[in-house]
């Protein structure tokens, strides 16, 4: 096992190391990046995109790493019934070229709205009306597809960024999950709204439905609680959490084994690492097998 260490405050250093290691590795490996806080996930995502590292989130960070999923579920909920948050989401980006500013204008007075905004608003309402008519006749799967197709949703930047391939696959997996779950439950879109609500409140439940193979070319972003003792990974990277309350500490347990612990939870997991471990500077004194990643990589 090769152990690389990076300066805890230098995420670019970590991502450069990841890019270097992943470029040399085989395609079908288990690659995991452990993040303890959503803030660190938000920080690392632009860097992963910059270095063109494909990533997919586990259950905890599903909505953080793939924000369009939450927006899509909210929009579908807005289509299903008169849930105000869903409707507010549906009548805005990324579905329609409208936002809170247009909503504020509407509140201030319809007569004061510029004609372009007024027309965009009416077009959006008309599209939603048509989508609802279709949704009440078909199943949630076709309603979801129509929602994505008939609005500008598929122009969401995620589908055209560096991670577009994974995001697109996830989109179709999400549609399949909606179709499958509604088919199993024999529910229509109105009945399916409660499932959407559950998924929005607990992304872990949805993530299980979007389960992919652990092996792949993507880097899996996992939360600490998603790790289980005895898990075998090929590449393990641990993200330093800056000054956040949840710090992950690492130590080498035995040959090929790493122990990770958090300060706030006071629990630990032992992982088996096959090839590479990338960890922050803070940690145990190192043996000869530990090397440093050269700065400015990638």
């Amino acid at each position: 096992m090769n152990v690389f260490r990076y300066s805890g405050e230098d995420q670019a250093h970590l991502v450069a190391a990841l890019a270097e290691v992943m470029a040399e590795a085989e395609q079908q490996l288990v690659r995991v990046l452990v993040c303890a806080e959503s803030a660190s996930v938000s920080r690392i995502l632009p860097l992963l995109q910059k270095f063109k590292i494909p990533y997919v989130a586990g259950s905890r960070w599903l909505f953080v790493a793939h924000p369009w999923i939450r927006l899509f579920l909210l929009g579908l909920r807005g289509l299903a019934d008169d849930d105000p948050l869903g409707q507010a989401c549906l009548l805005g980006r990324p579905f329609f070229p409208l936002g809170l500013e247009q909503r504020v204008q509407r509140v201030l007075g319809q007569r004061q709205m510029p004609s372009g905004v007024s027309q965009a608003w009416e077009r959006a309402k008309e599209t939603i009306r048509e989508l609802r008519v279709r949704a009440s006749r078909g199943g949630p799967g076709s309603a979801a597809l129509a929602l994505a197709e008939e609005t500008a949703f598929l122009s969401h930047p995620s589908f055209f960024g560096a991670n577009c391939e994974t995001e697109r696959q996830l989109f179709w997996m999400l549609l399949s999950a909606i179709e499958r779950e509604s088919w199993i439950a024999s529910s229509d879109l109105v009945g399916f709204a409660s499932t959407l609500h559950d998924w929005l409140n607990a992304p872990g439940v949805l993530a299980q439905k979007l389960q992919r193979s652990e092996r792949g070319k993507e880097l899996r972003l996992l939360a600490f609680e998603e790790l289980q003792s005895g898990d075998a990974v090929d590449l393990l990277a641990v993200m330093a959490e800056g000054h956040g309350p949840s710090q992950i500490h690492w130590s080498l347990a035995s040959e090929g084994h790493v122990r990770l612990e958090t300060t706030d939870r006071r629990i630990g997991v032992d992982l088996q690492v096959a090839s590479t471990l990338i960890v922050p500077d803070a940690g145990p004194a190192t043996a000869g097998s530990i090397s440093h990643v050269p700065r400015g990589g990638g």
């Binding site: 989401c89 329609f96 809170l100 055209f160 499958r180 009945g191």
Partner: protein, 683 residues
């Protein structure tokens, strides 16, 4: 070729595929789901004696369409004697009133969600039965009548000081009336159907009534021929059965469920099926999400190969009041419809929402649009939530009310109303300490009963036991409150629920930029030292530890103090004392400030007002920098988990002076107020 011949031809073909071990899945295309799919699936089981998994891609005749689920909801409502939850689950599928368009396409639209339907049903008030009311038309008609009267009264109101409240109330009532009115006709027939079922009858008789209701009121996603065939099969099954005696609703529904189930194919889901049954042509224009035409846009979109060389960057336009922002992301190859523009992620994702150029939001900055004291506290807690709730009018769905006890907000309102009524009628005598405490406790007990019964007209507290328990809890709170106030020295009572700043806001004195406020002071009295402002708060479980007073609480009090000193009572008057009284059924605590501590409240409130004014003037609405504020926020699903942490990061990194002022203020006063000369008095 008859249907049966077609089906057996397909079976024969499947046998050949099995013998020749042809690659799976074997596709069987059918012209329409009924009756081909049920016949085919049943015959596969019988004729091919090998376990084969089937996937039905064209939708099931019954289970695949939502029709059976809707019938089951109706059955559930009939079985459960029209309980509120069962009727609420059925309500989205009930057609709107005949006068509202009948069976036109718009009548297909679900206008009400089950949650909202439950709220409407619950708005019809309390019921002596533990499980709540079971007939709805009369109750909802009565609610509609009350609502209509309320709207009329609100329209006739000429009281300028209550104009704003009246307008809000009228809008609420009009919405309620609009929603209830269209449900009434179907509820009337549903009540009749339930009454008929309660009397029992033969299967034929009950089926007549059942299908008549379904045909008239239930939106069924079935074609008329399919529905006719289902009805015919039900009647045939009833005629064939030997049962001729009168049946109860439960027995009938149980039999009907079984009969409908026999029309349903219960095919387990399988990821890799042996046989796939599909339609010859797709029902939906988009097609099933599992099947994509070769070369279609969807197929291209899902292909695992890279989407090719991206197009040159396209400027996407975000519409703002008078500015266009170019977002330089790369547009891909997907062809978008002309109906919508390519849209941007906008600045909302960066943690701060701008709703236009500075000065575009006038709330609080004009006398005609004063800011309420509670809105000010909300603005300084999370400006983004303030924007959603108070400016953009995005309101999260109200939670379902508990039918066993009062929600915290309803309980708090009742305590406020009852105490305000007590002070209105007896404030002068009570504050002068006339009479005895025993008499006042008796008096407040009677007042509580009066208000409690009035509240039951609109609150769904179901069951006499629950009602009695809640009445005791309410009485206990008010008695403790009155007893605690009795311990205070005698004083002169001045006003209760004193409203100021309506319709024209009070300009707060001393602030560099004018901020206009309005509010309602719980009570005002005068001691030997001078004027006292009183604020009542109900606390959910335990009264807070007497260490710090949260900034939201002292801010509201501070605004009242500054408003009075700026002339809210007609002329500027100095306040000598301010008190927050926190009450719950088991304890009362009083936080009182005077002298130096009151001066501290004034100074801190003035600082807060400055920060709020800057935010409003610059029309910038950042998310709260404290993740803990999001914990119970109803907009958490809307904003997402990352929003909170991004806002924290933004608060550390921003170079914007206006935002920095807000973040600094939150950082300094996050922990609330705590000095030596503030007094906590236990009740």
């Amino acid at each position: 070729m008859t249907v049966t011949q077609c089906v057996y031809a397909a079976i024969q073909w499947l046998r050949e595929q099995l013998e020749t071990r042809a690659p799976k899945p074997w596709w069987v295309l059918v012209p329409k789901p009924v009756p081909y799919v049920p016949l085919l699936v049943q015959r596969i089981d019988v004729c091919i004696r090998q376990p084969l998994s089937v996937f039905i891609a064209c939708g099931m005749p019954f289970a695949g369409s939502p029709a059976l689920a809707r019938l089951r909801k109706l059955n559930g409502a009939l079985c459960r004697n029209l309980s509120a939850h069962a009727v609420a689950a059925l309500a989205p599928y009930l057609r709107r009133g005949v006068a509202d368009g009948g069976k036109s396409p718009s009548s297909w639209l679900p206008r009400v969600s089950p949650e909202r339907a439950l709220l409407l049903l619950q708005a019809s008030g309390a019921c002596a039965e533990p499980s709540g009311p079971h007939r709805w038309h009369e109750r909802m008609a009565s609610l509609l009548e009350r609502t209509t009267k309320g709207v009329a009264a609100a329209k006739q109101s000429t009281d300028m000081s209550e104009r704003r409240q009246t307008a809000i109330r009228r809008q609420e009532l009009e919405r309620l009336a609009r929603e209830v009115r269209v449900l009434l006709p179907s509820l009337r027939d549903l009540d009749d159907l339930a009454e008929r079922f309660a009397r029992g009858g033969t299967r034929q008789e009950l089926l007549e009534h059942y299908w008549r209701f379904v045909d008239r009121w239930l939106v069924m996603p079935m074609t008329p021929p399919l529905q006719e065939s289902v009805v015919r099969l039900c009647f045939t099954s009833a005629a064939a059965s030997k049962e001729r005696r009168s049946e109860s609703a439960e027995e009938f529904v149980s039999w009907l469920e079984g009969t409908l189930q026999s029309l349903v194919l219960d095919v387990p889901h399988c990821a890799a099926p042996d046989i796939t049954i599909a339609l010859q042509r797709p029902i939906e224009r988009s097609g099933s999400v599992f099947r994509m035409r070769e070369g279609s846009d969807e197929a291209h979109f899902t292909s695992s190969s890279p989407t090719g060389v991206p197009l040159p960057p396209a400027a996407a336009t975000s519409i703002a009041f008078d500015r266009a922002v170019a977002h330089p992301w790369v547009a891909g190859q997907r062809n978008l419809r002309d109906v919508v523009e390519r849209v941007s992620a906008g600045s909302e994702e960066a943690g701060v929402c701008f709703v236009g150029p500075p000065g575009s939001v006038r709330w609080g900055l004009e006398p005609g649009r004063p800011l309420s004291a509670t809105a000010l506290a909300l603005l300084l807690t999370c400006p983004y939530r303030f924007l959603l709730e108070r400016v953009a009018h995005v309101h999260p769905l109200q939670r379902k009310a508990s039918t066993k006890h009062f929600e915290a907000s309803a309980f708090g309102t009742l305590v406020h109303e009852a105490f305000a009524a007590f002070l209105k009628w007896h404030g002068a005598a009570f504050f002068a300490r006339n009479g005895t405490l025993r008499d006042w406790l008796e008096c407040v007990r009677a007042l509580v009963v009066e208000h409690f019964e009035a509240r039951l007209r609109t609150y769904p507290l179901w069951g006499e036991t629950n009602q009695a328990e809640e009445l005791l809890r309410l009485q206990a709170s008010l008695e403790r409150l009155v007893a605690a106030e009795w311990k205070q020295p005698p004083r002169e009572f001045l006003a209760v629920e004193y409203r100021f700043g309506e319709p024209s806001g009070v300009r707060l004195r001393g602030s560099r930029t004018p901020l206009y406020v309005r509010g309602s002071i719980d009570w005002l009295d005068r001691t030997a030292r001078g004027l006292t402002v009183g604020e009542l708060k109900t606390v959910a479980i335990t009264v807070a530890e007497p260490t710090r007073l949260d900034f939201r609480r002292y801010l509201q009090l501070g605004v009242y103090v500054l408003a009075i000193e700026s002339g809210a009572l007609g002329n500027a008057e100095t306040v000598s004392d301010a008190a927050v009284v926190m009450v719950n059924p088991s304890d009362v605590r009083r936080w009182q400030a005077n002298g130096r501590s009151l001066q501290q409240v004034r100074e801190r409130t003035a600082e807060a007002v400055e920060v709020a004014t800057v935010l409003l003037q610059s029309a910038k609405f950042p998310r709260t920098p404290a993740v803990s504020d999001c914990m119970y926020c109803p907009f958490f699903t809307y904003c997402g988990e990352a929003a909170a942490s991004d806002a924290v990061r933004a608060s550390l990194e921003t170079a914007d002076e206006e935002l920095q002022a807000f973040y600094t203020w939150r950082g300094v006063y996050r922990e609330g107020l705590r000095t030596r000369d503030q007094r906590w008095v236990s009740g």
